[in-house]
Subunit: 569 residues, 2 copies
Amino acid sequence: MTKICGDASNFAMSALRGFSLIHHDLVRLVRGGVLRAKPGPKGKVAVVLGSGSGHYPAFAGYVGKGFGDAAVAGDIFASPSTQAIKSIARQADLGGGIILGYGNYAGDVLNFGIAADRLREEGYDVRVLATADDVASSDASTRERRRGIAGDLLIFKIVGAAAEAGLTLDEVEEVAHRVNRQTCTFGVAFDGCTLPGETEKLFEVPKNRMALGLGVHGEPGIDEQDVPSPEALAKILFDRLLAEIPHEAPRRVAVLLNGLGSTKQEELFVLWNALAPMFENAGLTLVAPLVGEYVTSLDMAGCSLTLTWLDEDLEQYWRAPVDSAALRHDKLVGDGVADLAVEDEATIVYMRSATAAGRQGGACVADVMENLAKMLAAEESSLGHIDALAGDGDHGQGMARGSAASARAARNAANAGAGPATVLATAADAWADRAGGTSGALWGEGLRAFSTALDDGRLPSAEQLSQGARNSMERIMLLGRAKPGDKTLVDALVPFVETLERELAAGHELIKAWMEGAEAAYQAAQDTRNLLPRMGRAKMHGERSKGHPDAGALSLALCVRSVGRDLRA
Amino acid sequence: MTKICGDASNFAMSALRGFSLIHHDLVRLVRGGVLRAKPGPKGKVAVVLGSGSGHYPAFAGYVGKGFGDAAVAGDIFASPSTQAIKSIARQADLGGGIILGYGNYAGDVLNFGIAADRLREEGYDVRVLATADDVASSDASTRERRRGIAGDLLIFKIVGAAAEAGLTLDEVEEVAHRVNRQTCTFGVAFDGCTLPGETEKLFEVPKNRMALGLGVHGEPGIDEQDVPSPEALAKILFDRLLAEIPHEAPRRVAVLLNGLGSTKQEELFVLWNALAPMFENAGLTLVAPLVGEYVTSLDMAGCSLTLTWLDEDLEQYWRAPVDSAALRHDKLVGDGVADLAVEDEATIVYMRSATAAGRQGGACVADVMENLAKMLAAEESSLGHIDALAGDGDHGQGMARGSAASARAARNAANAGAGPATVLATAADAWADRAGGTSGALWGEGLRAFSTALDDGRLPSAEQLSQGARNSMERIMLLGRAKPGDKTLVDALVPFVETLERELAAGHELIKAWMEGAEAAYQAAQDTRNLLPRMGRAKMHGERSKGHPDAGALSLALCVRSVGRDLRA
């Protein structure tokens, strides 16, 4: 929905004016449209594009060297007037004739058609190009009824480059009709758009549904289904276009994956993952494909896939330099596929412990880490639920992911014969790496600090474990800057360490001391119910967490309990 | 809301992979981030950027020549791991030292800080840059607590250019801290964002309200108010930043008006209209300002304004060539303001009628057009309501706008002494120009066709008027391709013309014949209640218009009635 709107009836022209201000190195504002700021050479064919507004960067963003000479802008989703088209075409004329390019819609056909007739009466040589790439809008047998949608980007880019290359009007017109015939688009929509100044959507797509073949002004689609997976969506788009390519057509294709407005670039990238290999598998070579927003429909959610099969000169025009707000390239390069085999980390060479006790200690640490991971996997969902009250609910997931990676790394190190310090340090790094976020870093650093109290040559002693726990606590408090009472894991960690130390100092044996510590930690974690978070993101939603323990404190308590059970075993 | 998602827990990495596929001429995917595809020269300072994901094009889109050497990407809104930062920094290193750039958030400070320490232990010379441009996140007196938001684009661009220019690590670090101190951002949000895989927003902004100073992860803002006009919003953003510029600071500024995700480019352009003059009026010179999406927050609605005051070398680095997915310029040019005085149409020289009768006839046509315009202004809202049932409700507006322009043009021509044909032709062109859309074109062409039956030398005769009406009908039916029964203005136009002709042929005088025609038209317009539209956009929503007359047919009937009243007078 349009929030920065002002007078809605003037929105389109106000947006065009602001565009012209910021891009006045590229365009010059005239009544009803924009002209290239630096006109092309005398005698060049002038490429004048147009449509209703609401499709930015179409078409003002297409004006510049190697692309359009001018764009005529109507009101939102409404054809520009015949007068505006005539006036701008006259100003864009360089003496080499004029191509009027527009989508094949009733209003545009009418206004551009009349303008062309009038301009011809005035002595201009004018040719028209009504783009018709939308395969959903009519069958291949009635291509002339098809609408123009995102294919406009490819068609007009190629026509603009042909004109820039100095072709005659007849030649540019031939290229225009050829690329129009060789371009097809299929699109889907997840949600409707809202006209500026309105609060209701122009049309709605039911929740979790997807409309196939819906037009860029909300023209009805041809089908509807549940929103599919990215892979299934890629197949729907790709198969529909593949069926359009004639057998004898060239196998090199320019491609555009276009976002309609509120579908984010990240979503298009996710979809491209699934799409790119389909071209390869079908024997099609991608030529400088584009992913982004090039023909939008206000804030409509959805995307479309466009494909142009390229003979030699169309490829040359597609790759040619272009300098406009929408496209700026010295040369369109790349093929949109790559060998993305990501190298794994270098194989770690573990220091093998010199003693059997050290190797046994390493194995014990790996056992502890594996049991921790099992416990945290079981608790993942309940920790996530508690965390969602104060934060974004990813704590359970992070702990499960970190501990699982940690357990694998620990086992690898132990299998290589590493001692307890090395095994734990390895586990610490793996945890931090895979858990991510603040808590992942704190756990990794805490475990690493713990490991510095151990010795690779022997089984950990009670003294070492106690020292390790204190090291962890100090490191975590230093890095995280939390104090007891802030409703963080520190609330459970401090009583654990202090109880452990006190019990050992009182002469109790390790297992009892550890379990006492664990119980103190658990109790303290439960007591965080009464606290409000004072730090980090949790502070934002603190009120919601009232009456619930802190997820970080609780998971720490569960972990020391789990370790305690292993010590006993 | 994310519709193309797949496994939500893998969304960030899947998007990064797709980005790397399509932009593999610029970047190379590695575990947890991307490196420049073509590394810089040996000895160059490596600029390694990072943050959680969900902010595209930040930061993978910042990797390329003249900008970042690498980007580390965490999960959505979560800091990357220390391990990932270390691993990518090592791979990005060119032997000239490393700058780690990130926003000043707890998780990032922790992970990048630890990574820096570890890398230093390994022998790398590492400097850190925690961006802190968000003026809403802390007072100027506690700048070090401020968060980094859209200022990242300007700060990192300038740091990247300084590194590319071959500065030493000490020098790049100095530039980095300087530009960080000289950059400030203030943002507003209209609506919250939704994490991939979730259906509920992370936070909500109440309807028609605007949160001031809200963070890019939904951190609470400092105030809330109703959504203001573009001018008032511009003032809020601008004033807040102006207050940050020290008295002695240079008066040349780089500026970014940034969209947060679902705020469209057109809205930003509308806002820029109001913003650009404020800089000028405050004595600030804009240096290559940018308007667009550079630091987003998933699908959050809102925008921010960033300003960097530039001394000579910062300006040089800001303007320096850059080749990345987010920014691609040989040189950043333009100053974002322009003299946009749009020339009005060339003054029309009207043909003065040679006869008094012709001049009188021209004045009569102007009277008729003025009365038409008055009537259509009065009917604007009711015609709009009827049209909204079948279309987008702009019919009343278009008719009122077209007829008003038409009346003005007719009066000008009549005042200049033009005869009826010229006055009506002038009125026709003005109508088509200002009404816009399909119906504007049809009315303009219809009136123009009517004018060809008139004669500038005398008062229009009954025969001429009847011929004019037929000319209109034929032209409109030819262009619009509508037939009676399609629920368009043709349904009223045909009975009008046929009745007029029949009545005149039967020997009735003009006024009676015309009024009979008008009544036939009105009756036929009412009868369109029973029809379903078969053409154009109205066809889409046809069912809703059942039981209501067609707006176009009704307005035609009202117009011929109005003309009839003038004939009688």
